[in-house]
Each structure stands twice: as structure tokens, then as C-alpha cells.
């Protein structure tokens, strides 16, 4: 079986061997990057600089959460507001692969800027097995380019260090628990964030709609878990579809967006079964989403498994 203590011991040694001088670590507030940051700080101490980029595609309340989380760790923490840059870069980009690549490159350019200021040559990332598997290469087909692997630009100055490359999420969680990290049980969130939960071209309004819808889905599912009505699914979120349909609100015709709710059960994201959520809970989420978000008048539930679907829609 998997031995978290042994893993941490080996990973710390490996980073000490690989990294000369300073390194930066890209953090998002998720489990993977938090574990990589903790292991990195155990290996490098003050020579590790954590960089968090607010892309504008983060979950509701995420910026505050991350500031608080890294405030408690023994490393240098840099917060970068890059909302404008990211929205600017994605103007006119509708293809999911292109979106991921634009985002991947933007991240790297920002990290390169920080690394230059900090005089660091290394970039530590919380890349895990599904990221590079799905990104493809060689014989392996590209399912989607993960921003931290397939989305990397060809030309880059930083040397990449990936201590969690051979782990899956359930194993990363075991390491997180072993290290006593409070984020151990957080649900996964994609690196490109809400940008891949708005189908097609994004704009600030659409991102705001899906952010609110995701928050409602999270709130209601987590409440149902606390009340013991359901077992916590692996991942649960909302997707904004580029489809509008006719509705009626207060005797007036409406022509609004459609939100898809997605909730799946998995251990490693390599296969996933849709969650058999109770209808009362689905109804509650649909009612809240359509009542609280003005531009949405229809909600559907995604009942596909992976394969053939993937977990995120893009």
C-alpha cells in the first residue's frame, strides 16, 4: 500500500538534490499545490517562495482563503492580481484546448517575472499523475492539456520540479493528512478555474454567473453531507452552457442561460461515476440557482460517467 511518511521523506530528499538555490512554488489553495508547498518548504525552508495568482477565475472567497492558509506556513508568500491580464488574453478564444494553452502560458510568464525578481531558477508544481496522462504525448492521445503540463509554452526559462508526479489525488490526500494540512479534504478545482466552466468564449459576466452557481452547488451539497443525507461526492460544481432557452418569470417571458450541475464519485479522477443525488436536493439547487441568478432560467443535471465524458466539461 501507499506509505505517506516514506513518500514525504523521499520527496524532501529529491527536492534537496534537484534544486540549487531558490525556487518558487505555484500555489492555488488546492490539495496538490499545498502538499507540494509544504514538502518544498521542508526541503528548502526560506529558499522557497509561494506564488498565488488571482486569475479572476477562482472560486467565491478563494483569495481570502488562500491568503489565510499560506499566512500560516513558514515560507514567503506573494499574491498577484492578474485578473485583467487573463481576461485580456482570453478575448476571442472559444476553443477549450486553446483556452487551456493561453492560460498555461500566462501562468508561466507571470512565474518567470516573479522568479527573476526573486532570483530563482526553479518552479515547483503540484502536478499529479492525471495531469500528465491526460495531457498526452508520444503514443498517448491528448484528452485535455492540463495548464501545468500540456499548457506550458515550448520556450520557458524555469526548470520544473514535480514531486507529486506519480501520485493520484487519493494518495495526495493521504500525504496531506499525514502533514496535518487543513486542505486535505478539499474538493478538486481545475487550474484554469472557472474559465473552463464557462463553455466557449468567456467574459466577466459569464464567469460571475458560474461562480455564483458553483457556490450554490457547493453550499447545498455540503449542507446535505453535514445533515447525513448523502456521502460527500468526489467533486461537484456548475457549468454555464452557451445555450439559451425560453422561460417565464413573474408572467414575463424570459430568455436565459442554462446551468448544468455536475457531481461525480471517484478516487483518482481517472474513472468517475455520476452521483445519484436525491431529487429533493437537485430541486433545491435548481430553485436556488434560477431564483438567485437573474440570467439563468433552466438547470440540468449531468448523468454521464467518465469515460466517455470527462469530469470537467472542457
Amino acid at each position: 500500500m501507499f506509505d505517506a511518511a516514506k513518500f514525504v521523506e523521499d520527496a524532501v530528499e529529491e527536492i534537496k538534490k534537484q534544486v540549487k538555490g531558490k525556487a518558487i512554488i505555484a500555489v492555488s489553495g488546492g490539495v496538490d499545490s499545498s502538499v507540494a508547498a509544504k514538502i518544498g518548504s521542508m526541503a528548502l525552508g526560506k529558499n522557497l517562495v509561494a506564488v498565488y495568482v488571482d486569475t479572476g477565475f477562482m472560486r467565491k472567497g478563494e483569495n481570502e482563503f488562500v491568503k489565510n492558509l499560506y499566512g500560516k506556513m513558514d515560507l514567503k508568500f506573494i499574491f498577484i492580481d492578474a485578473k485583467k491580464e487573463f481576461f485580456e488574453a482570453l478575448k476571442g478564444v472559444a476553443d477549450p484546448e486553446e483556452k487551456r494553452k493561453v492560460i498555461g502560458e500566462k501562468f508561466i510568464r507571470i512565474f518567470e517575472r516573479v522568479a527573476k525578481e526573486e532570483e530563482a531558477e526553479y518552479l515547483i508544481q503540484g502536478t499529479i499523475a492525471p495531469d500528465w496522462i491526460e495531457s498526452g504525448g508520444g503514443l498517448r492521445d491528448t484528452i485535455k492539456s492540463h495548464h501545468n503540463v500540456g499548457g506550458l509554452p515550448e520556450e520557458m526559462k524555469l526548470k520544473i520540479v514535480e514531486p507529486l508526479r506519480n501520485l493520484y489525488k487519493d494518495e495526495v490526500r493521504e500525504v496531506a493528512r499525514y502533514l496535518g494540512l487543513e486542505v486535505a479534504e478539499r474538493q478538486p478545482f481545475p487550474g484554469p478555474g472557472l474559465a473552463v466552466r464557462v463553455m466557449g468564449e468567456i467574459d466577466e459576466k459569464k464567469v460571475e454567473i458560474v461562480r455564483e452557481a458553483c457556490a450554490i452547488v457547493e453550499e447545498e451539497i455540503e449542507k446535505a453531507c453535514e445533515e447525513g443525507l448523502i456521502k460527500k461526492p468526489w467533486q461537484y460544481f456548475a457549468v454555464l452552457l452557451p445555450v439559451r432557452s425560453v422561460g417565464v418569470r413573474g408572467d414575463i417571458r424570459a430568455y436565459g442561460y442554462t446551468i448544468a450541475i455536475r457531481s461525480v464519485d471517484s478516487i483518482d479522477a481517472m474513472t468517475a461515476a455520476y452521483t445519484k443525488l436525491p431529487h429533493d436536493l437537485l430541486e433545491k439547487m435548481a430553485t436556488r440557482i434560477t431564483n438567485e441568478i437573474k440570467d439563468v432560467n433552466r438547470v440540468v443535471y449531468d448523468i454521464s460517467n467518465k469515460p466517455p465524458a470527462t469530469i470537467e466539461w472542457e
Partner: protein, 187 residues
Amino acid sequence: MKVYVIDNGGQWTHREWRVLRYLGVEAEIVANTTPLEKLKDADALVLSGGAPRVGLQDKLGNCDEYLQYANVPILGICAGHQFMARFFGGECGEAKVPEYGKVEIEIIEEDVLFKGLPKKMIVWESHNDEVTKMPEDFILLASSENCRVQAMKHVKKPLFGLQFHPEVEHTQYGNEIFMNFLGEAKK
């Protein structure tokens, strides 16, 4: 025990590695172009699945060499299974009804792989092609509604083929199938 996972480019090649390691086996993923002489210490081989259509190509790295000369138990999965069937004279082609995700299979012959397991089980699949004609020296072990050759075995040698994926979490009894296979390698 040492088992090499021959990487034919599957999404779940690394999962095969993980399951084997969890079963206490020393496992290593290697490219399918690895010369057989570098795999001399192998107690068994797993031929992984792969990207679309690789099972239908004339050559699948050095898989033909492994099948002919390796002389250890071999488990072909998905594209690896299809290639095995073709290598021994069977035929493969596009599945009339491809299967992705959850499928029920029925065990026809328990043999080694399904020893001690129920007659019906849920497995997960992801294939566009399938074995349309099993080679003569093989016997049929399991079928599903839309795919006859879900599992097969060579009549004399410890060579096994599975169309479904025992290495993924959602397949029932996946670990047991691997343990039964590894039992052959211990002989």
C-alpha cells in the same frame, strides 16, 4: 516479483502500475519499444491499452516479440488484448457497438483469471475496436451484451486478454483478477 507494464499509450497504463504496486509487486512502466533482452528479469508482463486503433496496427512496438519469446505470463488489456488476438491469427475490427464506462460481463469459463469470482460483474470499458474473431488456440472466458470476446486465454500458455479494464477503480474485482494473474507468475 517483477512485472513490466508495457506502455502502449493508454490513459490507464499508470493505473496498472499502481494496482500492481499496491499488490506488493515491483512494477515498472516501460516503452513498448523496449528490447526484450532488457526485460529478462520479468516474472510477468502487462500489455497496456492505447490510443485509438493501435490494436489494429500491424506493429505495436515490440509486443509481437514479447508474445513470441518472453516465456512469462502475459496479460493484454484493451489494445494489448486486441493485438494479442491478431498476433495469434484472430481478427479485430471496429466494434458495432463500442462500450465506454459501465458494462456487465458474464463469465463463461472461470479458468484462472476469474477463479472464485461471481458469474456476473460490473466492469468499465473504453474501446472503439474489439476482437471479432478469436484465434484458434484461445478459449473464451467472458462476454458482454455487445462484445463477445471480453476475456480470453491461450489453451496451453499463460497468455490472457481482457477487453475491459481491471485496473480502474470502478471495475469490480479488478484486484482479484490481477492477483489471479500474478498467481500464474508465481508458478
